[in-house]
Symmetry: D2
Amino acid sequence: MKIGFIGLGHMGAGVAANILAAGHELTVWNRSPGPVKALAEKGAHVARSPEEALQGEILFSMLATDNAVREVGLDGALLARARPGLVHVNLATISVDFARRLAKAHADRNVDYVAAPVFGRPDVAAAGGLTVIVAGSKAGVGKVRPLLERIGRRVETVGEAPEQANLFKVAGNFMLAAAIESMGEAFALVRKGGIDSRVFHDVLSNSLFACPVYQGYGSAIVAEKFEPAGFPLRLGMKDVGLALEAGRDFSVPLPLASLVYNHCVEATVAGFADKDWASLGKLLATKAGL
Amino acid sequence: MKIGFIGLGHMGAGVAANILAAGHELTVWNRSPGPVKALAEKGAHVARSPEEALQGEILFSMLATDNAVREVGLDGALLARARPGLVHVNLATISVDFARRLAKAHADRNVDYVAAPVFGRPDVAAAGGLTVIVAGSKAGVGKVRPLLERIGRRVETVGEAPEQANLFKVAGNFMLAAAIESMGEAFALVRKGGIDSRVFHDVLSNSLFACPVYQGYGSAIVAEKFEPAGFPLRLGMKDVGLALEAGRDFSVPLPLASLVYNHCVEATVAGFADKDWASLGKLLATKAGL
Amino acid sequence: MKIGFIGLGHMGAGVAANILAAGHELTVWNRSPGPVKALAEKGAHVARSPEEALQGEILFSMLATDNAVREVGLDGALLARARPGLVHVNLATISVDFARRLAKAHADRNVDYVAAPVFGRPDVAAAGGLTVIVAGSKAGVGKVRPLLERIGRRVETVGEAPEQANLFKVAGNFMLAAAIESMGEAFALVRKGGIDSRVFHDVLSNSLFACPVYQGYGSAIVAEKFEPAGFPLRLGMKDVGLALEAGRDFSVPLPLASLVYNHCVEATVAGFADKDWASLGKLLATKAGL
Amino acid sequence: MKIGFIGLGHMGAGVAANILAAGHELTVWNRSPGPVKALAEKGAHVARSPEEALQGEILFSMLATDNAVREVGLDGALLARARPGLVHVNLATISVDFARRLAKAHADRNVDYVAAPVFGRPDVAAAGGLTVIVAGSKAGVGKVRPLLERIGRRVETVGEAPEQANLFKVAGNFMLAAAIESMGEAFALVRKGGIDSRVFHDVLSNSLFACPVYQGYGSAIVAEKFEPAGFPLRLGMKDVGLALEAGRDFSVPLPLASLVYNHCVEATVAGFADKDWASLGKLLATKAGL
């Protein structure tokens, strides 16, 4: 199949490589040349303009911010020059509101739009092990699903409105942040009572909480190891902010999300923005005088 | 070994049966006669007074409230009539402060005191699968450890001051409550955005959150099934309250524990005290107009 | 002086009448004709298009929402057709971010822009008793200050960047909301202890808290009188939301503002959006089972 | 009238002096001799034991902590040796729960017990300007009211159960703390937006918030002047803790009180325990990076 790919950051590059490995004809475009080169060596065609990437059957994009989407033109002008019948699959975590506007911008120009944000870190993306949350028209989703199954271990369709996939994603990331917060408070409490937080973490993350979030982030907090950042605090904060924004739009009170967000602000002030967001646990230890 | 057991509620009865099954000579006492009878049929000796239960090498107790401990006299008078060399193992979740006072009361009367609160529900207790958190003097813990290994799948020593085991336990229960709160908010959010919360729960509790807490409590919230209560909200609320009390004593700010506690109060006002504490999720749905 | 006025809602109409009463030549424009008529009878000139209102020395506007500002064109096109030297005074409470963008839009078209949001309700506006918070260029502020002193009892310049006046205003409104929240919690607490909340309110609002906010909102909470709404909850919620938005932009953690905002969401779900925002107190009583 | 007075701290000494000045025969007792001497010079009789202070018609006490009350014996033994018909007026801010137990201890020994906690600082006490909140039996309150009117500008009876006066007091002190929190957040917000917090405070505390709490504490926050402490943070924290305890007992969710309490813990960790509790404002500025 002829496929385009725009946005080859840490996550995008891994996904693109998997699509290429599946035997598709891939045209890639990126603002900076580095990641393009590596894919070209594996057989990808390098586009000279973003427009070229829209001339296949499917376009994937994974641009980190709303602004990047706008600069490339994927919220407007560029869409008008897409090959008829193109389906655009947006893998990025964007706000529910922006997702809704993007969906409309695509509909206005007869481009099918599927939102497919993913759970997983760069190494998981490279290994094809992502969890992919999909929402969009039945036709669009049907067309791209086989491809998504190449890049993810699990592909779950959650609705027909693209923004629903984004809502799903930010709600999930909020739960991650909440788990970090709860460990941060609990670890600080037991430590001040003279208990080794490694033992506390070890017991719980091998019983009631025997799952990746508590094992991984918990170990990071216990070891105070926040660099290199698997997921930097500033991005986590952005996602919790998007959950709050959605809560506002849907009239859902989210006191725990608010609490976590405020702690992210404090952590940012404390200089943790580029550390892993498990460093929230460090902030909570500091508040307790540890 | 000659062992006594006081307090045969849902949890205690299962533990006592396991000790009996291990071939020990067990003397049991309970305020109400029902559970005593069942154990007598399995070979336990029925004490006519609590005092009789203190004439072995080890006494286990599992009394639900501080008051019950006081009424039986385990915080004072009764201890003076214990067999010399007795080790008292308290399996109940009590406050850090009360644990400290009990430890002192025992030391004053030369009775060794070991705190051994457990994680697990009655069915887990009956199956010998509890996680047992132990703290106390090296000698005392050494003496009781083999027995604890009969009643628990995992036995973890966390310190020499008995109250440390209680701190460990309430900190763990707080983390449980926090997980419920985070699911409650996240589920409300996705539902108001038109997403099936079963799908949301299914995806997350089979990936990032693939562990008993998220699987079990999450299912209960999704199904709005809070009866019969595996763990009633009023007990969960008590434990979060104990975490807050410990936070106050050790100067640890616990904003998330405070948040959960306040929601427990609201849930109590709403009539959920005897429902499973997963019903916090119902409260959060209600706040969002669901 | 030749002055224009756009936006004759409850607040705007009172301010416009005061300007007229001061002997100025006033050209008014409003989307709906009702309020225009009343002012015309007092001698105001009725504009047939918004543009006419920009042909004097000063233009006042008091449009309730960002959208209204955009629809009229005061963020763009319309400004290009203003009389050279015009100073636009925006009396509305808008977001810090939108204020910043408006300031830029005016600068690009050589129109001086002064932000002058006000504290006070419609009756205070009609009586010329508002507190006016002003920010803008020295020249612009200097030109409009005498007029502002006609509409306000107190006029305070707080900076040269127009958005600073808006920040000041939303921070002040947040403090109002916080006072309501604190009364709501305190009143619920004393009531459940059998104390008459009228006595509690009477004592405090005549001693430590002897000021309009506690007297006025407190009386409303005690009497559970939330209609007609002096200031509807949905507008209060909007302002607390603007404070949070500013907190995010300036990296200021605002846990109390977050708390109040979440309660506003709950109150909205409970149907209080158009009641006075003192009805937050009612929400808090309900949470306590009152 | 023959009156006893136990507890001559900063507050008690001023009150005792006012009673003396009203021409009563006053017998004073204090653990440390300093304040006793000053009152003796003004004509007070110095008791050699607390018991002597219970031989008049009325006993006032103002002991800072529950423990002090217990050590003196006012919760038990000492009461049995009181002159028949004695009314004990407790001016201290104690917990609702302890008030209830004290009331019972007095009833058991036929001593009338009136709770009369006060609002006001030492200088206000010395000037006879306190606000006195009274609860107790009609007979007891009737007997002591004329005296209370000598020590307070306003005397308000709020119920017949003594603990109601204590509930009133801690609810009021919570409102104070909430006002400090709200100023702390608002001041931090405007400062980061480049506004002079003195101007912000000046405008608000002379309009909507023109009352002692906002004027006094606000000035302290703006000037960052927290020493000498008019009311030390550790005492304010104790009172907010008592409000939370009452909220727990009466099933009233108090999220704002919880928030303030957690900030008090953080402030304590930061070393502010003995500073004025307006230093909460400093904590909030620090969180914002100011």
